[in-house]
């Protein structure tokens, strides 16, 4: 019975996100067009210095995969804060459900919603700039991509819990998780070009190994920071760690928010 309720909550929370692909088509198309413009700017930066065409592909691949990171920060991390502002959070809290099911539904719906944007960016980018696409290892590409998504949405679930306690500071935190993270995670270039020490610091964020693993599986190990199986292992560990952290943080933050009376606190 408990299991059944868990999955019903997952489906119920994922449903509006999946349906929004069609029902909020303006957002889906508009958001994709914005990302396409920024992706074009990055490819043109490489073009302006006559970089090898592989770099065009890195910029396109990075832009495509960063859609997931954007979704993790703005639609996972910030979601409970927004729900609090809209007055929905208290309804979630009094409903007889597992809050982890709510986060799982948000994650699965978010993945589906973002995949549409990511695929569109990738296809249009490759066609527009005639960027070379090679898949050297299809199995590892699928496996690394799956592990990266689990780890990224694990981070999102943990953020959602942590952001519950904060007021308007969450905007600043979310901002800091955007451009600075794009820069140090090697989103548009092989991360190993930052030097090993900086690259390893950057790899605290699962996005770094996620992008690097997918890039390696497509373009070969010459572009990678660590051998592919090691990166996959790290991603798997990150995935488990962040989901457990989310579970712990959700309980802890929910308790603290109740004690400090922040569950219904708005406009702060």
């Amino acid at each position: 019975m408990k299991k059944e309720v868990f999955w019903r909550v997952v489906v119920a929370r994922a449903y509006p996100r999946v349906m929004s692909i069609v029902r909020a088509a303006r957002w889906t198309i508009g958001g994709t067009i914005v990302s396409l413009f920024y992706m074009a700017a990055l490819v043109l930066i490489y073009k302006s210095i006559n970089a090898p065409p592989e770099y065009y592909s890195f910029a396109i691949l990075g832009s495509s995969l960063l859609s997931y990171w954007d979704n993790v920060v703005w639609n996972m991390g910030m979601q409970l804060y927004w729900d609090k502002e809209d007055g929905l959070l208290e309804l979630y809290m009094i409903a007889p459900m597992n809050r982890m099911a709510l986060l799982t539904g948000m994650a699965l719906g978010g993945m589906t919603m973002t995949s549409v944007r990511a695929i569109m960016i990738f296809i249009v980018g490759v066609l527009l700039f005639k960027a070379p696409v090679v898949v050297q290892n299809p199995f590892h590409l699928t496996f690394a991509f799956f592990l990266a998504l689990v780890a990224l949405y694990g981070v999102g679930m943990a953020f959602a819990s942590l952001f519950l306690m904060w007021g308007r500071q969450v905007w600043a935190v979310a901002d800091i998780l955007m451009e600075p993270v794009y820069t140090i995670s090697g989103s548009y270039f092989p991360v190993k070009s930052l030097g090993h020490s900086l690259a390893f610091v950057a790899s605290i964020i699962p996005l770094t190994f996620g992008l690097d693993a997918v890039r390696q599986a497509m373009f070969g190990s010459a572009w990678g920071l660590l051998p592919l199986p090691y990166e996959e292992l790290f991603l798997a560990v990150y995935g488990v760690f962040y989901i457990l952290l989310a579970r712990y943080a959700l309980r802890k933050m929910e308790y603290l928010a109740k004690v400090e009376g922040k569950l219904t606190l708005r406009w702060q």
């Binding site: 303006r26 957002w27 508009g30 958001g31 067009i33 914005v34 413009f37 920024y38 074009a40 700017a41 990055l42 043109l44 930066i45 490489y46 073009k47 302006s48 210095i49 970089a51 090898p52 770099y55 502002e85 809209d86 007021g167 308007r168 500071q169 905007w171 600043a172 901002d175 800091i176 451009e179 600075p180 794009y182 820069t183 140090i184 090697g186 548009y188 270039f189 092989p190 070009s193 930052l194 406009w267």
Partner: protein, 277 residues
């Protein structure tokens, strides 16, 4: 209403803007650090891209740094302008009360944009430090730089106000339009690369965008020359004149659009609309 009230309204809105922008950080140093991190990261993103490829000229990197640091101002102004209207209407639910005060909401938005932008200018200062750190070519012309910066800020505010007007009448699509325009300006103005890398049709489009001239003037005032092969053929006076004309046109257009948009928002009851976005 006398000029004194307009000035008071403007200063009060700037003060409010500072408060809203800063008071989430209990320590002002936290805000300064935060406002430095974003522009630094965006400039270093491009530097790292060049490093990754391994070959580039100092001129090319200087071009990108000038463009990226100043593009941040434009993006900030446009995003703030549209955000203010949405925030007042849907978050704080104060928009309708603003309209029943004797003050001009147009001035209130400008005051709040300026307070936000002053803080965004901290990032520009950092761009100059990078120039020194990387020993990039520099021949600074303070007079031309200040003129270009002030004109650029006026043009940015005009563009921001135009977009804020759209938010009044298009509550759901407004933010997408705002973000799309930021992206269009970034791509077609040649902020971080010469416009010669754009296809011909896009090059023609970049001549209609006022910020193309702004970035060219900024490069000339900081580097002493323009790294863009097409724009470098234009005289400084021609550039300034074109920029001035486009900025004034946008400023007038923004006011007309604001008047029409607020009239339509009042008549269709959209001043207290909640779009749940």
């Amino acid at each position: 209403m006398s000029m004194k009230y307009h000035v008071k309204c403007f200063y009060t809105s700037m003060w409010l803007g500072f408060k809203i922008t800063l008071n989430w950080a209990r320590n002002p140093l936290v805000y300064v650090t935060y406002s430095l991190v974003l522009p630094i990261a965006s400039v270093f993103l491009i530097i790292f891209m060049y490093w990754a490829v391994g070959y580039y000229t100092p001129e090319r990197i200087a071009h990108a740094i000038v463009g990226q640091a100043h593009a941040y101002i434009l993006t900030d102004v446009i995003a703030t302008a549209s955000w203010i209207v949405e925030d007042d209407r849907e978050h704080y639910k104060t928009l309708k009360y603003m309209f029943i005060t004797p003050y001009s909401y147009y001035l209130i938005i400008i005051g709040r944009i300026i307070s936000h932008m002053v803080l965004a200018l901290i990032g520009v200062v950092y761009a100059f430090i990078i120039f020194y750190a990387f020993k990039l070519p520099m021949s600074f012309n303070p007079c031309l730089y200040l003129c270009s910066l002030v004109l650029g800020i006026i043009a940015s505010i005009a563009l921001g106000m135009t977009l804020a007007s759209i938010i009044f009448v298009m509550p759901r699509g407004g933010r997408v339009i705002s973000r799309s325009l930021q992206a269009i300006f970034y791509v077609f103005s040649g902020a971080v690369y010469p416009i010669t890398v754009l296809p011909n049709w896009a090059q023609r489009l970049s001549f209609v965008i006022p910020v193309t001239y702004w970035y060219s003037l900024l490069r000339r005032s900081i580097l002493g020359f323009d790294t863009d092969p097409i724009l470098s053929t234009l005289q400084e006076e021609t550039l300034m004149m074109r920029f001035l004309i486009t900025a004034v046109v946008f400023l007038i257009l923004s006011y007309i659009m604001y008047r029409i948009a607020t009239w339509r928002a009042r008549s269709s009851g959209r001043l207290e609309l909640i779009s749940s976005i």
